[in-house]
C-alpha cells in the first residue's frame, strides 16, 4: 500500500510500465502465491493531477460490471431472476471474493449455467444451492450456515462485544467506587490563603 501510494504520488516518474496485468480473474490453473507480485498500478507514470482526473472520470463512467453473458440467460424472466438470486449467494471458487454472478472465471460461468439447468429441471432454489454445496462445501456459500464449525465466525463478534461491555461495566463501577471513597481533599494553610485570594479577585467594588 505504501509503495502504491508512493508511486501514485511520485508525479510522472520515468518508471517503465511493467507487463500489463488485467484485473479480470480467470482460471489459468492453480498457481503459486506469487500471483499478485507483478502487479503494477495503472497510474504509474502519470502526473498526480492526470491520475486523479482519469480515476475520477472512470469512477463516474463505469457501470456495474455484469459477468452474466446474454447466451447464459434463461428466456423465462422469473426463472432468470431466481437464477440471479441464487448466483449471488454462491462464491466463485476461483476468485473467492466474488459471487459467481460477478465473476468472469470459466468455472463461475459453468456454475451459472449449471444453476440455470437445475432450475429448468424443476429444482427449488434451496435444492440448487444444496447441489452446489454438496460438491464444494461451506466455502461456496457466501452466507455460511451456522454449524459447530462456523459458530466462532457467527458468534465471535457478539462474544467480543459482550466481553468489551463487561470490561467497560467493571471499569466504570470501579471508577465510581474510587471517586466515592476518595478522601475529601485537605488544603494546606498556604493553599487555603491562595484560594481565598482567587475567590475575592472578581468581587465587585474591590476597585479594579
Amino acid at each position: 500500500m505504501i509503495g502504491w501510494l508512493g508511486r501514485f504520488f511520485s508525479s510522472s516518474s520515468p518508471r517503465k510500465r511493467g507487463p500489463s496485468v488485467s484485473g479480470v480473474c480467470r482460471d489459468i490453473g492453480h498457481i503459486g502465491a506469487d500471483r499478485a507480485s507483478r502487479w503494477v498500478p495503472a497510474f504509474a507514470g502519470m502526473t498526480v493531477v492526470k491520475a486523479l482526473a482519469v480515476s475520477t472520470l472512470a469512477m463516474f463512467l463505469s457501470l456495474p460490471a455484469l459477468a452474466v453473458m446474454p447466451d447464459e440467460k434463461l428466456t423465462d424472466p422469473a426463472m432468470e431472476a431466481r437464477a440471479r438470486e441464487i448466483s449471488k449467494e454462491l462464491r466463485c471458487l476461483v476468485c473467492q471474493n466474488q459471487s459467481i454472478d460477478d465473476s468472469n472465471a470459466d468455472l463461475a460461468r459453468d456454475l451459472r449455467v449449471l444453476v440455470r439447468e437445475r432450475l429448468v429441471a424443476g429444482d427449488s432454489n434451496e435444492q440448487v444451492i444444496t447441489y452446489v454445496h454438496d460438491r464444494y462445501g461451506d466455502f461456496v456459500l457466501l452466507r455460511p450456515p451456522v454449524t459447530g464449525y462456523t459458530a466462532l465466525l457467527w458468534g465471535g463478534p457478539f462474544v467480543l462485544l459482550a466481553l468489551a461491555g463487561f470490561g467497560t461495566a467493571l471499569y466504570m463501577r470501579q471508577r465510581r467506587r474510587d471517586v466515592e471513597t476518595m478522601p475529601a481533599p485537605v488544603l494546606t494553610a498556604d493553599e487555603e490563603a491562595r484560594l481565598v485570594a482567587l475567590l475575592n479577585e472578581d468581587k465587585p467594588g474591590d476597585g479594579r
Partner: protein, 181 residues
C-alpha cells in the same frame, strides 16, 4: 488481591491481547487460503462415465476406480502447472508402479494428445471431460488436482495444485502404502 496488583495486571492486558491475536494471525499465515477442503473425503467417488480422448479409446468411469488404490489426476494441456507436475506423474507411474487415471478437463482432444505425446503418458486410462461437469461433481475448482482413491473406490485425499516431490514423499506415497495394506 490489592487494587495496585490488579492495576499492574491490567497493564499486561494489551500484551496478552497482542500475543493471542499475533498467535492467531501467525497460524493463519501458515495456511494457504486458496486450498479448500474437499467434500468427498471418505465418500465414494461420484458416479460418472467419460469418453476417451479419441473415438476408439477407452474412457474412464467410476467403475474403474474399484479394487485397488489409485490416483485420479485432473489435467489440461492449457494448464501450465500441469506441465510442472507431469514428470513427477511419469516417475510415479513408471518407477513406483502407481495406477493413475487422468481426467482431461475442458480441453481439445488433439491438444491433450499432443501434450501427452510431448511429455509422456502416465495414465492408465483417460476420460475427456469436455464441459467440466464431472470435475464439478468432484468439486474441482482449478487444475491440476489429484485425488487418492482407496480399494473401495472412496476418495481419501485431495491435493490442490501441482504435485511437488515433497508432497509425493511426505503425503501421497505413504498414504498409498498405508491404504494398500
Amino acid at each position: 488481591m490489592s487494587a495496585v496488583t490488579r492495576h499492574r495486571l491490567l497493564l499486561l492486558l494489551p500484551l496478552a491481547v497482542f500475543l493471542i491475536l499475533g498467535g492467531y494471525f501467525a497460524l493463519g499465515l501458515t495456511k494457504d487460503p486458496s486450498k479448500l477442503p474437499s467434500m468427498l473425503i471418505d465418500k465414494p467417488a461420484p458416479t460418472f462415465t467419460l469418453p476417451g480422448l479419441s473415438a476408439g479409446e477407452k474412457g474412464l468411469s467410476n467403475a474403474d476406480l474399484m479394487g485397488k488404490v489409485q490416483l485420479i489426476n485432473v489435467f489440461a494441456s492449457w494448464c501450465a502447472p500441469c506441465r510442472v507436475e507431469h514428470p513427477l506423474l511419469m516417475r510415479l507411474a513408471k518407477e513406483d508402479g502407481v495406477t493413475i487415471h487422468g481426467i482431461n478437463y475442458k480441453d481439445k482432444p488433439e491438444a491433450a494428445q499432443a501434450f501427452l505425446d510431448q511429455m509422456g503418458n502416465p495414465f492408465t486410462s483417460i476420460g475427456a471431460d469436455k464441459d467440466g461437469r464431472v470435475a464439478i461433481d468432484f468439486g474441482v475448482y482449478g487444475v491440476p488436482e489429484t485425488y487418492v482413491i482407496d480399494k473401495q473406490g472412496r476418495v481419501r485425499y485431495r491435493h490442490v495444485g501441482p504435485l511437488m516431490p515433497f508432497d509425493m514423499e511426505e503425503t501421497i506415497l505413504p498414504m498409498i502404502r498405508e491404504l494398500s495394506k
